[in-house]
C-alpha cells in the first residue's frame, strides 16, 4: 500500500497520557487505596492478569513492601488464554502464558490487577478462570488505565489509576521500565 521507506511513524501519532512521575504518583495512590481496604493483607491475595498485569502487580507489591512495610503479601499470575471467548474467532492464534498461583484462594479476598481495562472480556475470562482454583469470598479489580465508554460487559474497576476516553481505532500502550525501558502510558492513533 505504501512504499517501504514510509516508516510506520508517519502513519501513527502518539500522545503521552502518563509520564514516569505521574505513574509513580498513581501507583502510590493505588497502593494506599489497597491498604485502606485490605489493611495488612492477611486475607487478601493480589493476582496479575497475564500477559501485562504481572508488571503492575509486581510494582504494587514492591511499593507495599518497601514504602509501607507490609510483609508477606501473596501475589500470583493468572493466564486466561484457555478461557477466552474469542478462541478460533480471532485472526491471530492465541499464545498461552505462565500461571503461577502457589497459594489457596478459597475464602480469600482476591484483587485482580491489569494494566488496561478495555472491553472487560479479559476480566470476564479471569472470573471464570479463578473459579477453578477455589471460591474467593470477594473479587475486586484494579487497573492503571480505565478506557471508559468502550465496555462490552458490565464490568467496572474498584481502583483505577486514570480514566481515559479513547475511541475504537486508538490503542493505549502501557510501558514499564523493566520491560520497555521506560515508565509511560501512550495513546496511539493510526492517522489514516
Amino acid at each position: 500500500m505504501y512504499p517501504e521507506y514510509v516508516s510506520e511513524h508517519f502513519l501513527m501519532s502518539q500522545k503521552t497520557l502518563l509520564d514516569a512521575t505521574e505513574i509513580h504518583i498513581a501507583l502510590h495512590r493505588l497502593a494506599c487505596q489497597l491498604i485502606e481496604k485490605h489493611d495488612n493483607f492477611t486475607n487478601t491475595v493480589l493476582i496479575g492478569i497475564q500477559p501485562r498485569g504481572g508488571f503492575l502487580a509486581k510494582r504494587l507489591v514492591t511499593i507495599l513492601e518497601n514504602d509501607y512495610k507490609i510483609k508477606n503479601i501473596q501475589s500470583g499470575l493468572l493466564d486466561i488464554t484457555f478461557y477466552r471467548d474469542d478462541f478460533r474467532r480471532s485472526e491471530k492464534p492465541l499464545a498461552a502464558n505462565e500461571t503461577a498461583i502457589n497459594f489457596v484462594v478459597e475464602n480469600k479476598k482476591v484483587v485482580f490487577i491489569d494494566d488496561v481495562l478495555y472491553t472487560g472480556r479479559s476480566i470476564r475470562s479471569a472470573l471464570t478462570a479463578i473459579g477453578d482454583f477455589g471460591r474467593p469470598t470477594e473479587i475486586e479489580l484494579l487497573t492503571l488505565i480505565d478506557r471508559r465508554f468502550s465496555r462490552h460487559l458490565p464490568i467496572q474497576p474498584d481502583y483505577r489509576g486514570r480514566q481515559v476516553d479513547a475511541i475504537g481505532g486508538e490503542k493505549v500502550k502501557v510501558c514499564w521500565q523493566e520491560n520497555e525501558g521506560e515508565d509511560a502510558v501512550y495513546l496511539i492513533k493510526e492517522q489514516i
Partner: protein
Amino acid sequence: MIELSVNHLLGIKYITEEDIQLIFETADHFKEVIQRPIKKVPSLRDITIANLFFENSTRTRLSFELAEKRLSADIINFSAGSSSVKKGESLVDTVNNILSMKVDMVVMRHPNPGAGVFLSKHINASIINAGDGAHEHPTQALLDCYSIRERLGDVAGKNVVIVGDILHSRVALSNIFALQKLGATVKVCGPKTLMPRYIESLGVQFEPNLIKALNWCDVANMLRVQNERMDISYFPSTREYTQQFGLNKKILDSLDKEIIVMHPGPINRGVEITSDVADSKQAIILDQVQNGVAVRMAVLYLLASKIKRNDS
C-alpha cells in the same frame, strides 16, 4: 511461533522441530492446569471429537479421552469390535457416517499403516493418529520426549537407546523421528531378527550388546515384546530374550552413571524389565503416563485452534 505448521497430526515425520517445541510449551501450561482443584478449561467446548479405535487400546484411549474432557470437548467413542466394520463397511464410509454427525476432529487408531494419511485425504476433519499399525504413534513419541525434557532439562545432545522389538514398533519409529528432530542421538538394541533391514538409513546405529548400549546412553526406552504381532518366532524363547535384552536392577546398578528408564506400557514385568527396575527412582514410566494427558491436551488444543469457525 504460535501455530502448528500442519492441520493433522499424522506422524512425527510430517511435523517440524518448531511444532514439537510449541507442543511442549503448550503442554507445560496444561500440566499446570491439571494440578488445579478443577482440572478443566473451557477452550474446546464447541468442538466434537470422535475417538475411533479399530484396534485395542487402554492407556492411549483413556489418555485421549481424559485430555478431551479436560478441554471441555464433546466426545463420541467407537471401537471396531462392536461396530458395523464387522459387517464389511469401508473405512471412509464408517468415518463419513460419523462425520455427518458434525464431528470436528478424529482421533484414530488403526491396524493398517498409513490409515491416518489415507483418511486425511478423503474427509474434512482434523485427524490425530493414535497409532497406525507398525508405522507411527506420534503422541507417544511426543510424551516420551516431553518426559525426557522434563527430567533432563533438554532433549538435544542426549543419547537415547531404544531396546526391543523395533521391527513391529510404531513407538520406536515415532521416537526415532522425534528424538532426532530435537537433536538427540539414537541407537537401537535388540535381537537382530527384530531389527528393520534398513534401520541405519534413518541415521540410527544398531548395537547388539545391551550392556554396551546402556553404558553409552542417558536414557533407555525399553519396548514391550509384542507377542500379538509376531506371526513367526523371532527369538527362541522369552527366557532367552530376557537373559540377553532384559533390564534388571543388577545391570542398572553396575552402570557408571544413573540412566533414565522409560517404557511405553503395558509392561511385561520380568520380561523386558524386572519389577524392581520398573518401580525404581530411575524409571519415569508413571511420569510418562501423567505427561501423556498434558501433551495430548496441547496437541488437541493447537489443532483445534486451526479449525475455521463457520458461524454463518
